[in-house]
C-alpha cells in the first residue's frame, strides 16, 4: 500500500510538471498579452511593465525562472490585479468554490444513489420512467439553462430565493442545485445500471434462497457491489465540482475559483493562469489517488499495485 502510494505520488509530480509546462508554452503562443488595453499604453510604460514582471526576457528563461519560483512555493503576483499575489487569489477563492461544490457533491450522492436504486428495483415501472426522464434532462440540459431557469423562476418571478452572492444560507440553494444536477443525473444512471447488474447475480439469488432479509441483502450485498462505478466517477466529479463552475459562478455572482480561472485566460493574466492550472491539476491528481484508496476499502478484492 505504502509503495503504491509512493509510486502514485511520483507519477503525480510528473503529471503536474507536464501540465504546467504545456500550459506555460501554450498560453504564450496565444496572441495578446496582459497589458493590452483598449487605450494604448505608452511604449515606455509597456516596457517598464514588461521589465517589472520579467516578460521582456526570452521565453525559455521566463520558464526556468517561473518553475524555480514555483518549486519554492512562489507563484508570483497577478499581472492584472496589481498588488494581489496568485496564492492569495487562489486561497481566497478556492474555499468559496469548494463549499458550494462540496454541498453539490453531497446532494448529488444523497439523491443520485437512492434514486438510481429506486429505478433499478422498479425496472420498467412508473418510477423507473420518471427517474430516467430526470436523468436524461440532467445530462442533456446545459448548466446555463438550468441556472437561468432557476434564477428566473425562483429569483425573479416568485422572489423566493436571493440571486446574488453568498450572503445567507438561502443564497446557496440555487447554485448548489444547478451544480448538483448533472452529477446527480449521472450517478442515477450509473447506479441504476450497476444495481440491475448486481441484482441479476447468482450470489443475490443465493442470499435470497438462504433467507437473508431483503434489506440486509440490499445493503450488505447489492449496494456495496453496485456502488463501485459511482466511486470511480467520484474522483473526477469531485475535482470538477469543488473547483467551481465558471457559468454557475458568473450567473449567481459567486467569487469562486472557476470564474477566476476563465477570466484569467481571457485577461492573459499569465501568472494566475499558471497558478490555478497547477493548483487544479494537483487537486485532480490527489482526488484520483483518494478514489483508488477508497476503492480498496470498499472492495477488498482489488489489489493496489
Amino acid at each position: 500500500m505504502a509503495k503504491y502510494i509512493f509510486k502514485r505520488i511520483c507519477l503525480a509530480i510528473v503529471t503536474i510538471w507536464a501540465v504546467a509546462t504545456l500550459t506555460f508554452f501554450l498560453m504564450n503562443l496565444v496572441p495578446g498579452g496582459p497589458f493590452m488595453s483598449e487605450k494604448a499604453v505608452s511604449p515606455e510604460a509597456m516596457a517598464a511593465l514588461e521589465a517589472k514582471y520579467g516578460l521582456d526576457k526570452p521565453l525559455g528563461e521566463q520558464y526556468l525562472t517561473y518553475m524555480k519560483d514555483a518549486l519554492h512555493g512562489d507563484f508570483g503576483q497577478s499581472l492584472r490585479q496589481r498588488g494581489r499575489s496568485v496564492s492569495s487569489i487562489i486561497f481566497s477563492k478556492f474555499p468559496v468554490s469548494a463549499k458550494v461544490g462540496g454541498m453539490a457533491v453531497v446532494v448529488a450522492l444523497v439523491l443520485g444513489v437512492p434514486l438510481g436504486c429506486l429505478a433499478a428495483f422498479n425496472r420498467g415501472k412508473v418510477w423507473d420512467h420518471i427517474i430516467s426522464v430526470i436523468a436524461t434532462c440532467g445530462i442533456a440540459v446545459p448548466s446555463f439553462v438550468i441556472c437561468t431557469f432557476l434564477m428566473y423562476t425562483f429569483g425573479v418571478k416568485l422572489k423566493w430565493l436571493p440571486t446574488l452572492g453568498l450572503t445567507g444560507p438561502a443564497n446557496y440553494i440555487m447554485p448548489v442545485v444547478a451544480l448538483a444536477f448533472y452529477p446527480m443525473a449521472y450517478i442515477m444512471r450509473l447506479m441504476r445500471s450497476s444495481m440491475l447488474d448486481v441484482l441479476g447475480q447468482d450470489y443475490m439469488r443465493t442470499a435470497k434462497a438462504k433467507g437473508v432479509s431483503q434489506s440486509k441483502s440490499i445493503f450488505k450485498h447489492a449496494l456495496r457491489n453496485a456502488i463501485l462505478p459511482v466511486i470511480t466517477y467520484l474522483g473526477p466529479m469531485m475535482a470538477y465540482t469543488l473547483s467551481g463552475s465558471f457559468i454557475v459562478e458568473k450567473i449567481f455572482t459567486i467569487p469562486g475559483l472557476g470564474g477566476q480561472f476563465v477570466s484569467s485566460i481571457t485577461n492573459r493574466d499569465y501568472t494566475v493562469i499558471m497558478g490555478t492550472t497547477i493548483f487544479l491539476a494537483t487537486f485532480m491528481v490527489i482526488m484520483m489517488v483518494v478514489v483508488d484508496i477508497l476503492y480498496k476499502i470498499v472492495d477488498p478484492r482489488i489489489k493496489l499495485k
Binding site: P31, G32, G33, M36, S37, E38, K39, A40, V41, S42, P43, A45, M46, A48, L49, K52, Q77, Q81, R82, G83, R84, I89, M103, V106, V107, V110, L111, V113, P114, C117, L118, M151, G155, V156, K159, P162, T163, L164, G165, L166, T167, G168, P169, N171, Y172, I173, Q214, S215, I218, K250, I251, F252, T253, I254, P255, G259, Q260, T266, N267, R268
Partner: protein, 542 residues
C-alpha cells in the same frame, strides 16, 4: 418491505441534503437596521483601485467616491472646487496655481497637504509604476519627459507651501481643469503606498483615501463596501452611511438583482431586455462623449483610395443601425465628434462643426446612390473586381449584429464581406498591428476637450489603428497643442475634424450612450458625459 426500505432511504437522503444546505453560512443580512446603505452596480470587479494604475471606467467609478481630486465635476458637467478651494492660470497659460482648502485630512485622520499631490503626481510619472494614463494627464507638464526617463524630481509640480500647488506647463493646456478632476491625479498617501507596495490599494486597512467615502471591505468579484469618511471636509453633505458596489459581471444577474431590489441602480442592462424597458421611467439612455467607428486598414492599397473609403462610409444607414440594430441605445453619428465635447469657449463643439450641420448627409438613399457612383469611379462598378474584405470584431454588445448588417450594407455595393469574430484579448493586438481589412473601433472620452479624441488620428498616435495619415491633420493638431489663443485653438480643432471627415479617414457610425436602470428612490445622484456616476451626495427616499 422493499418499498418501506426505499422510502426510509429516500427520507434520509432528503434530510441530509436539507442539512447540507442549511448549515451553510451564519452571516445574517442586515436589511432592517437604521443604516442608510445604497447598493449599486457600476461594473464587474475592478482590476485595480489605485488611482495611478486604473485605466478603466469601472475602476474610475469606484475611485471617485474614495478620492477627491483638486477639482470635481458637478451635475451640469462644470468643473468646481474639490480639494482646491480656488485656482488660477497665469496669462501665458503656462502656470497653474491651486489653493487647497483649510484642514484637509486623510481618512486615517492625518493631514493632507500640497506635498501629497506632488508625491502622487510624480508617482504617476514614475516609469516603474507604469501608469497607463501618465502621458494623457501629465504629458504637457514641464519635465514630464525627464521624469519618465527616471528623474522624477524634474516634473515641474511644486508645493509652494502646505496649501499651494504650482504646476508649470511646457505647452499651455487650456483643458487642464478637466485633468485636475481626473481620477488618475487623485492624491495618494505616501506612508501607506511606501509601506505596502502595490498591495496598498487592495485592503481596507491600507487604502487610505481623502474623498467622501472610505473602504471597509472588498471581496473580489463580490462587492466593495464604503462608509462615510468622517474626515472628509464636506462630510455634512453626505447623507449615505454606506455605499456598496456590487461587482456583478453578468448583465442578467445584474438585472435580476435590480428586479429583486438588491441593487437600486445597475449599469449593465441585458440588451435583450431593452425593448421591454421602453417607456419605463427608471430606464435611462444618456449620452456620453464617445463614438463607435470603423477602421479601414489604410496601409492596404485598396483603402488608400479615398473614393473607396467614402463609398464604404456612405453605404451605411446610420439611422437604421442606431434605431434597429442597436435598439435605440446608440445615436446615429453624422460627425466624428458627437454631443458633449466642449469647444474652447465652453459651447458644444458639435454645434460649431461644419457650419452646424453634419458632415455626413442624413439622406440614406442619396448616400447609397453616391456610394455606388464613387465605387464605379474607383474602378469597381457594382463591386466588380473588388476583393473580398474581412470585417474584424470582438463578440460583445451589438458588435456581431452590426457586423452582419455591414455584410448586407456593403453587399449593396457588390462587396463581399467576411466577418472575423475574435476573442477580445486577441482582437486588440491584431487591430493595433493592422492585421485586419476593416475593424470596429470606438472611443469614449476621458475629459470633454475634443483633443482627447482628435489626437487618436495623428500619424504617430498609438491608438491610430487604421494608420490614417495626413500631414495637414497633424499640423492642425500640433497647432491646437501649442497655441494660447482660444479662438485659434478652436479653429485648429475644427479644421482637424474637417480634414479627417473629408478624407473619410475613419467611418463614424454612432455615438455612445450609457443606458442604465436607476430606481426613483435614489435622489441627488448624477451621471456625467464621461460615463461616471456620482453617488456621493445621493439620498434614498423612503
Amino acid at each position: 418491505m422493499k418499498k418501506k426500505v426505499i422510502s426510509l432511504v429516500l427520507i434520509a437522503a432528503m434530510a441530509i441534503s436539507m442539512v447540507a444546505c442549511g448549515k451553510s453560512d451564519s452571516k445574517k443580512s442586515d436589511s432592517a437596521d437604521a443604516v442608510k446603505e445604497l447598493k449599486v452596480q457600476v461594473g464587474p470587479n475592478p482590476e485595480t483601485l489605485d488611482p495611478a494604475l486604473n485605466s478603466a471606467v469601472d475602476g474610475g467609478n469606484v475611485i471617485l467616491h474614495a478620492f477627491e481630486t483638486l477639482l470635481t465635476v458637478d451635475e451640469n458637467g462644470n468643473y468646481k472646487e474639490g480639494q482646491a478651494e480656488k485656482w488660477e492660470v497665469s496669462e501665458d497659460g503656462l502656470t497653474w496655481t491651486f489653493h487647497l482648502r483649510d484642514g484637509l485630512k486623510w481618512s486615517d485622520g492625518s493631514d493632507l497637504t500640497a506635498e501629497d499631490f506632488v508625491y502622487s503626481w510624480k508617482r504617476v510619472c514614475n516609469p516603474e509604476v507604469a501608469a497607463p494614463y501618465a502621458e494623457t494627464v501629465l504629458g504637457m507638464v514641464k519635465g514630464y519627459d525627464e521624469a519618465m526617463a527616471g528623474d522624477a524630481d524634474a516634473l515641474a509640480v511644486t508645493a509652494k507651501d502646505d496649501k499651494t500647488l504650482v504646476v508649470e506647463m511646457k505647452n499651455p493646456c487650456t483643458y487642464f481643469e478637466g485633468l485636475a478632476s481626473f481620477a488618475t491625479l487623485s492624491p495618494v498617501q505616501k506612508a501607506s503606498v511606501e509601506a505596502n507596495g502595490d498591495g496598498w490599494a487592495t485592503a481596507p486597512e491600507t487604502y487610505v483615501s481623502n474623498g467622501p467615502f472610505k473602504m471597509t471591505e472588498w471581496v473580489p468579484d463580490s462587492y466593495i463596501t464604503f462608509e462615510k469618511n468622517e474626515n472628509y471636509w464636506n462630510k455634512d453633505a453626505i447623507k449615505l452611511d454606506k455605499l456598496t458596489f456590487l461587482l456583478i459581471e453578468d448583465p442578467n444577474a445584474a438585472y435580476s438583482a435590480y428586479q429583486q431590489g438588491e441593487a437600486l441602480m445597475i449599469k449593465d442592462v441585458p440588451t435583450e431586455e431593452i425593448p421591454s424597458l421602453e417607456g419605463n421611467e427608471e430606464f435611462f439612455v444618456e449620452p456620453i462623449i464617445g463614438t463607435y467607428y470603423l477602421n479601414m486598414n489604410e496601409t492596404q492599397e485598396i483603402f488608400k483610395d479615398e473614393k473607396v473609403r467614402e463609398a464604404l462610409s456612405l453605404a451605411i444607414d446610420r439611422q437604421y443601425v442606431a434605431d434597429k440594430i442597436m435598439q435605440g441605445t446608440y445615436t446615429p453619428a453624422w460627425n466624428l465628434m458627437g454631443p458633449g465635447w466642449k469647444d474652447t469657449d465652453g459651447s458644444e463643439f458639435m454645434d460649431n462643426a461644419n457650419g452646424g450641420k453634419g458632415y455626413i448627409s442624413e439622406d440614406y438613399d442619396k448616400n447609397l446612390e453616391k456610394a455606388k457612383k464613387l465605387l464605379a469611379e474607383a474602378g469597381y462598378p457594382e463591386g466588380k473586381g473588388f476583393p473580398t474584405i474581412k470585417y474584424s470584431t470582438n463578440d460583445a454588445g451589438y458588435h456581431i449584429p452590426l457586423a452582419e448588417y455591414l455584410q448586407t450594407a456593403w453587399g449593396e455595393l457588390g462587396i463581399t464581406v467576411e466577418v472575423d469574430k475574435m476573442e477580445w484579448a486577441s482582437f486588440t493586438p491584431a487591430r493595433r498591428s493592422q492585421q485586419f481589412d476593416t475593424a470596429r473601433n470606438g472611443w469614449v472620452g476621458d475629459y470633454s476637450d475634443p483633443s482627447n479624441m482628435l489626437d487618436l488620428f495623428c500619424t504617430t498616435n498609438g491608438n491610430n489603428d487604421g494608420k490614417y495619415s495626413n500631414p495637414e491633420y497633424d499640423a492642425a493638431m500640433e497647432l491646437s497643442r501649442t497655441t494660447t489663443d482660444a479662438k485659434e485653438r478652436s479653429e485648429a480643432l475644427h479644421k482637424a475634424e474637417d480634414i479627417v471627415m473629408a478624407d473619410n479617414g475613419i467611418i463614424p457610425v454612432a455615438y455612445y450612450n450609457d443606458f442604465y436602470l436607476m430606481s426613483n428612490k435614489i435622489q441627488g445622484a448624477w451621471h456625467s458625459a464621461t460615463g461616471y456616476w456620482y453617488f456621493m451626495y445621493a439620498d434614498i427616499a423612503e
